[in-house]
Amino acid sequence: MSAAIHTDMNDMLPEAPVSRLEARVTAANAAGRPALVPFLTAGFPTLDRFWEEMDGLDRGGADVIEIGVPFSDPVADGPVVEAASLRALENGVTLRWILDGLKARAGRYDAELVLMGYYNPFLQYGLENLAADAAAAGVAGFIVPDLPLEEDAEMRALLAARGIDLIALVGPNTSEERMAEYAAVASGYVYVVSVLGITGVREGLPPEVPQTLARARKAFRLPLALGFGIKEPKQLEGFPDRPDAVVFGSALLRHIDAGNSAESFLAAWK
């Protein structure tokens, strides 16, 4: 499926390099559905089961899989992702283990892969080595929640040189002007944070989500992925403008932690 999409996109835009992430989300939308973007902390719940669940997510129809790179101090995350992160660290997970594991499995996943993690582990790995190893491991994008526009130029440039996107994050308190600044450099898709808060920990979506999406729609030509607090399709019912992609993190981790398979979580969305 992905090969065909790449060909189509390349035919449409023969000059510009097309982001694999953007193409994948656009293809899902062309099929009449939002792209499915599960988040799974690397090494959770155990080292072996993580790779099993990766396969399950891939089989289950994930368009993009965000792999959480664990960090000791995840300030943008709620208790579920933080606990998963600390458990993964106890299991011995390192960024090198993740990249080596992905390299060994290169070409195995139909889904595109994104690494999501805090800046310090990436920085200590060495940003140039990171970009090279991530490219070799088939990684299409990075999300770094503590790396705002003011600080991201070096990492963005090193990743771009390898054809890897650095995903922009915006939220309910991001102004149109600020979004426009991100739009000037952004690629892949845009991660729209649904709420002024942290991942997980809420039942419904806040009422201002449609306004946030509308502002982002104006500022970006890229697909919009909605995340933080997303669990089931009915949360998006009645939205005037549906997001192009949906990200599930805490709800999926809880589902897995309760002994269920990642694949079964995606069933509700298909």
């Binding site: 000791s72 709620g78 310090n120 790995y125 503590d146 600080e151 994050l169 939220g171 600020r178 942290i198």
Partner: protein, 394 residues
Amino acid sequence: MKKGYFGEFGGQFVPELLMPPLRELEAAMRDILPSDKFRAELDDLLRNFAGRETPLTACPTLSAELGVHLWLKREDLLHTGAHKVNNTLGQALLAKYMGKTALVAETGAGQHGVATAAAAARLGMECVIYMGATDVVRQAPNVMRMKLLGAKVVPVQSGTKTLKDAINEALRYWIAQQDSTHYCFGTAAGPHPFPTLVRDLQCVIGRETRAQMLERTGRLPDMVVACVGGGSNAIGMFHPFVDDASVRIVGVEAAGTGEPGCYNSAPINLGRPGVLHGQMTMLLQDADGQIEPSHSVSAGLDYPGVGPEHAHLGAIGRAVYGMATDSQALEAFQALTRREGIIPALESSHALAWVLNNRGKLPAGGHVVVNLSGRGDKDMEIVREVLFREGELA
């Protein structure tokens, strides 16, 4: 230089959701802090509520032993027991001018929590304090003080359950409550503009010291010494002397128990550059960039990072950063108590310990000022335990 950087250190490594309140704070620093009305009101609070100016005390006995003129800047005499209140009154008042109705803060030993709670009570603001669950147990009297002052104290159960985790949790709370709440950060660290804001509010220490030295001795000190955890008392003392080449600047980090490889709180000496809590700075971390637990007998120094301006002053050699161990600090604690009749905080005891253990590095016959950042009342239980164990206290 990039905005909010001190050389290679500093910056704003925070989630995008925190950029608007940080920019709002930058604007307030620019527009409100310098105004005459604000300055006058803060000055009145510092003078008549907190007890400034603080004395500069000569230490005749220790001076004779050390062969220098040893002076103490007496921040320990301030209301709530330490320099922290210089910062919390300034930030609370600024928050009030910004239209905020509540303060959130982290605390380790509880000193910053108490100082924030006192400022909030004085100015009629709500107050939420995040404190590691381990520290809540270790520092029960300060928890009681905060509660009496009307603050809500939230024990933090995540991670190492100490200061760094309390900061994580306070940042999370701030993301959600930024409209009504100001994050009253406790030290000259964190994302820009906090390192600059807290420094500017603490610089009253160094400015007073400078004027007092000139008045009392007709000259500047030859050396200023302060303990460094996050480093707010130290940067407050150091900054007004940075451009005086004749003044040697010594920061003292906590070396923990002191044996090689022990847990410590000395990231400038024993750490590497990295990013934590919104800043590029010197950090205790493993090879993979995970933050390591810190340790010091003084909870106020127990932090795996340090303010970025200290990392910079160390990198360019303008300041020297030494270390003192837990036991050296306890010895210095006893020395000051017995010889000069002053019971210092264990944090400040580290600064004094460096002086007592580095006589060869002192300017012979010159003037040395140690910032006595806090008083030791809060440390009675810890000191009793250690000295009792060592048989020095029956």
